[in-house]
């Protein structure tokens, strides 16, 4: 049987217009490509 309270906790409020800007710009945009470039740069520096 489903636990109603437990399932309810999985629902989050929708983002409203007033909060949209903050939500969008507070995201972490770092991707794997950025991480790889940093690693390659560090490896190159240590190799030199």
């Amino acid at each position: 049987m489903l636990d109603f309270e437990e399932e309810l906790r999985k629902f989050h409020p929708s983002i409203e217009v007033e909060d949209a800007q903050e939500t969008i710009f507070s995201q972490d945009f770092t991707d794997i490509a950025d991480a790889l470039i940093k690693i390659l740069d560090k490896a190159k520096e240590s190799g030199e």
Binding site: M1, L2, F4, E7, L8, K10, F11, P13, S14, I15, E16, V17, D19, A20, T23, I24, Q27, F29, T30, D31, I32, A33, D34, L36, I37, L40
Partner: protein
């Protein structure tokens, strides 16, 4: 695909032909990102939007500059009703590449119609309110809000799922399944939808010995208050949670609300109204009573005046009668004048004078103040001239009547004889006897006493004493 270092277009080589940078790994990451994007695209084609979202997020995690992934993710979000998330993805996409980007058109489409944009935002607020009401266990209100949300945004997946969850909570299984089928139509592989659906299906189509139960069997079990299903090798018998139909609940709520409203009206509003009406009535009654009292007082005053006028009128009539009637002063005066005239014309006609004077006998009983001085003087003068002869005249008449045993007729004449001559004791004696004969004993006694007093030591007085003693012994 461009070099992350110099911006040159990369070739099939693992290094940049422009700057010589090692781009083998970098290219693999970008390829992987594109692969995820392609997977997401395929998932979208079979409406596996949840899977598409996961893949697109992976794609963006690998390459944040994957504009197509951002755009597609925005579209998927928009399809499941998450407008702000969609807008966020398109804004990021637009910031990465502002030219020749479909995201710009998407943003413009959404934001150019302000009314529609406000309606979307209001819809999101309503969903959040519904969620808040779920936290407070106000499920009925939450259902109402969610239905409003879904009427404006039929593809809002989260709202459908929440509504289905509430239905499951209320054990309205058919409705829950109906909502979950809508969820499946929007997003065919959503894990939450599938889990809820499995729960609902487990209740609605329980399996017994590997066979799907017939509706008849289900009904029989519901009558028993249980239902049975298999979980692995175990047969589970679970009580059915009966719940009152929603319509009945709503009707009951309306009925209770109406009763409470009537009770409030009856206990709070109606008494105040009654008091107000009673106050108005009291004021009206007081005013009417005051008016009635005034009218009654006026009537009493008028009645009093009327009675006084009647009394006055009666008195005046009496006085008028006294003056004008045969027994009044006018009549007495006329009789006296006639008697005087008769005497002047013939002084010896005593019978005629007596007849005239009988007309004023009643007037004699009247108060002397009612008679004038000249009347009294004339009367006294006439009496001086005629009283002795009048007494003799009446004495004779009375005695004759007495002798003839006409006692009733004798009495007035003997009274007149004694009135005109107070020394006529004989007339008084016969008057007493006449009274006795006519059974006027008291008057007879008085007359005998008067005979004794008026002529004491006479034979007549002795007779009167004897008669008086006899009467006293008899009565």
């Amino acid at each position: 695909m461009i070099c992350y270092k110099c911006g040159c277009t990369l070739s099939e080589k693992d290094y940049c032909t422009g700057c010589g940078a090692d781009v083998g790994m970098y290219k693999k990451i970008l390829f992987l990102s594109n692969r995820y994007y392609n997977d997401a695209l395929e998932m979208c084609q079979v409406r596996d939007l949840s899977g598409a979202i996961v893949s697109l997020k992976q794609s963006i995690k690998l390459n944040r500059n994957n504009v197509d992934a951002h755009n597609l993710l925005g579209l998927v979000y928009f399809e499941i009703g998450e407008v702000m998330e969609a807008l966020g993805e398109w804004v990021i996409s637009n910031s990465i590449r502002s030219e020749k980007n479909i995201a710009t058109d998407y943003i413009r489409l959404i934001s150019e119609n302000q009314t529609q944009f406000d309606a979307m935002n209001q819809n999101l607020k309503k969903f959040n309110q519904a969620l808040e009401q779920c936290y407070r266990d106000s499920l009925d209100y939450a259902i109402i809000h969610l239905k409003k949300v879904l009427s404006a945004a039929p593809n809002y997946l989260k709202a459908h799922q929440l509504l289905a969850l509430i239905c499951i909570r209320l054990e309205d299984w058919e409705k829950a399944r109906h909502e979950l089928e809508k969820c499946m139509a929007i997003d065919s592989k959503n894990i939450i939808t599938m889990r809820y659906m499995a729960e609902v299906e487990a209740v609605l189509t329980p399996v017994d010995d590997g066979h799907v139960r017939s509706k008849k069997t289900k009904t029989e079990e519901q009558k028993r208050g249980t239902y049975t299903y298999k979980s692995g090798n175990d047969t589970i018998i679970q009580p059915v949670h009966k719940r009152q139909p929603r319509a009945l609940t709503v009707l009951l709520s309306i009925g209770i609300g109406a009763v409470v409203g009537l009770a409030v009206a009856y206990f709070l509003i109606l008494p105040a109204k009654i008091v107000s009406v009673e106050e108005n009535s009291s004021r009206t009654i007081a005013a009417v009573s005051e008016e009635k009292d005034k009218i009654t007082a006026d009537y009493d005053s008028l009645q009093h005046n009327y009675n006084k006028i009647l009394v006055d009128n009666e008195e005046l009539n009496e006085k008028l009668k006294a003056y004008t009637g045969s027994e009044g002063n006018v009549g007495a005066t006329d009789s006296l004048m006639l008697a005087a005239k008769t005497y002047i014309e013939n002084p010896d006609s005593i019978s005629e004078i007596a007849r005239c004077l009988e007309g004023i006998e009643l007037a004699d009983s009247m108060d002397d103040t009612d008679k004038s001085e000249s009347y009294r003087a004339l009367y006294n003068k006439l009496m001086e001239l005629t009283s002795e002869r009048l007494s003799e005249y009446y004495h004779k008449l009375g005695y004759d009547s007495y002798k003839n045993d006409d006692f009733e007729g004798a009495i007035p004449n003997l009274q007149r004889a004694y009135k005109y001559n107070r020394s006529d004791g004989e007339a008084l004696f016969y008057l007493a006897k006449s009274y006795e004969k006519t059974d006027q004993i008291d008057k007879a006694k008085e007359a005998y006493v008067e005979v004794i007093n008026s002529s004491p030591d006479t034979e007549r007085a002795q007779k009167a004493e004897t008669e008086l003693a006899r009467i006293n012994s008899q009565y």
